[in-house]
Amino acid sequence: MTLSLFPLSEGAITIEFGEKVTKVVNQRVHEAAWKIAQHPFSGFIESVPTFTSLTIYYNPIIAGNFELVCKKLLSALSNEFAMIDQNQKLHRVPVCYDVDFAPDLLLLSHSLNLSQKEIIELHTKPVYDVYFLGFSAGFPFLGGLSEKLFHPRRPSPRLKVPAGSVGIAGNQTGVYPIETPGGWQIIGRTPLRLFNYESNPPVWLKPGDQVCFYPITKEEFFNLEAQDEH
């Protein structure tokens, strides 16, 4: 496995694990994050996984310069121990696909030449991988969306997408944890909170976890929403 290490800044190194976004490459990213976290070198601050890379933030005054830190990283990564019991979870995410929560479902139905029922079936069938969290706090980049549901994002973003909105953009599906502007095609909403800054960790879905969606009625949505507030 060839790794490349790039100095993103005086206190950050980006490690590349592959050129294509695949589950295998992404697994390597999470494994590397785990290995480094097991025995963090002095001066290590945090690591940030993305699709195919892991960025290590460090304090060079304590850890040493780029060359020295690369040696420490390569040494940590060469550790033979595989990640066991990494607390990877399968999360079942309830989604209400009712028209009131799914402003773009009809449009997608026409565009993709699928009935709304078929879209929901295709969306709830796979087990998705949480490749990483980014864009906003708790926002999951999920892998595994059915090709039949690939669709470009909206030509211009909405000013406000409600928290919990489930959307599709390009070959991705994801959930908006907090209300933000956004350009994804919204096909449903989850009543559960993906991000809560008062908890630690503040997120429900973690990088490396798995997710599957299941449909709920509007009534179930409001019940779950009320429960989750506590």
Binding site: S9, A12, T14
Partner: protein, 326 residues
């Protein structure tokens, strides 16, 4: 409550050194834009360098102190006053109950830090007191200060007279408005055409009005790639210069998102981030290249110098400030 905001100023927020440790959850770092001035302000009042302070932008607030407090102001000189009388920056100052602190327009630069001995008492969120307005969470109610807000502080006062202050040399970098900003070649520098690379180092960019704590948007000659290529989203950091499809660079600042999908042409050298943070919309900036090794070396040197200065200040401040907690 200890401090009443009579007028909030243009954009005043509570900041500390930033919210680290949670970027893998998409949580933004935030924190002070000019980390040198911010840390110095804290040290001058006997605080840890990463204590919560006020970041003041362009137009300063007017604050009524309902408690005695030892404060210091560092960064851009906004001609601060106590009860209408000029007070120096870069020095620990005693404010008495009933005093009003106010500011004029900056002589140069645009960000100033008001540190209060004992720090500003707000609840930390995920280990930090920095304000993240897009959250919104952290700092004072997750937002900039408004009229009639009330901040909580400890009562502090000077035990001995302070007859020294920080040499203006410590923040002279704020006045270096014309020197180019040093940058390291970015991770996708090679993606850009030769003419784009040349243009990047030749152009005098203007900081657009849409610039803010998330990023400085630059106007000038657009920069294009060799050929159409999509970047697979990866981590970005403070000072990353990314170029969206329209070709106009954006310098990512304190409130940047944790990851980005636009190619990065350059990275602002850490030693020049405080200077960059003192620039404002309408200013021009240009770039010059520095090698990564040199940039990291200089950064390590400057931080070591800073640590030495920190020790000197700590020594001088020993026993000088008394707090209601004593």
């Amino acid at each position: 409550m200890s401090i009443k905001v009579l007028s909030p100023g243009l954009y005043t927020t509570v900041q500390d050194i930033g919210r680290t440790g949670f970027q893998k959850y998409g949580v933004v770092v935030s924190g002070a834009m000019d980390t040198i001035s911010y840390r110095l302000a804290n040290l001058l009042v006997g605080n840890f360098s990463n204590e919560a302070a006020l970041e003041i932008t362009l137009l300063g607030p007017t604050l009524l102190f309902n408690k005695n407090a030892v404060i210091s102001i560092c960064g851009a000189d906004m001609t601060p006053k106590i009860n209408g009388k000029a007070t120096p920056i870069g020095k620990a100052i005693e404010v008495k109950k009933g005093d009003i602190v106010s500011f004029g327009t900056p002589l140069s630069g645009c960000r100033s830090y008001l540190a209060i001995s004992g720090g500003i008492q707000v609840e930390p969120v995920l280990g930090s007191k920095s304000t993240f307005v897009q959250g919104p969470f952290g700092g004072y109610r997750g937002r900039k200060l408004r009229k009639d807000d009330e901040l909580l502080i400890l009562e502090t006062w000077l035990n001995k007279k302070i007859n020294w202050r920080l040499s203006p040399f410590s923040y002279s970098f704020i006045h270096e408005e014309l020197s180019p900003i040093r940058v390291i070649k970015g991770k996708q520098y090679d993606w850009f055409s030769a003419s784009a690379q040349k243009a990047f180092f030749k152009t005098k960019y203007k900081i657009q009005s849409e610039s803010n704590r998330m990023g400085f948007r630059l106007d000038g000659e657009p920069l294009y790639l060799h050929f159409q290529k999509e970047l697979i989203t990866e981590a970005v950091t403070f000072g990353s210069i990314q170029v969206p499809p329209n070709g106009l660079p954006i310098i990512l600042m304190a409130d940047r998102q944790t990851t980005g999908g636009y190619p990065k042409i350059a990275q602002v050298a850490a030693i020049d981030l405080p200077r960059l943070a003192q620039r404002k919309p309408g200013n021009s900036i240009s770039f010059t290249e520095i090698s990564f090794n040199e940039a990291q070396q200089l950064y390590i040197e400057i931080e070591n110098d800073f640590n030495s200065l920190q020790k000197i200040i700590e020594y001088r401040m020993k026993g000088v400030i008394h707090s209601e907690m004593d």
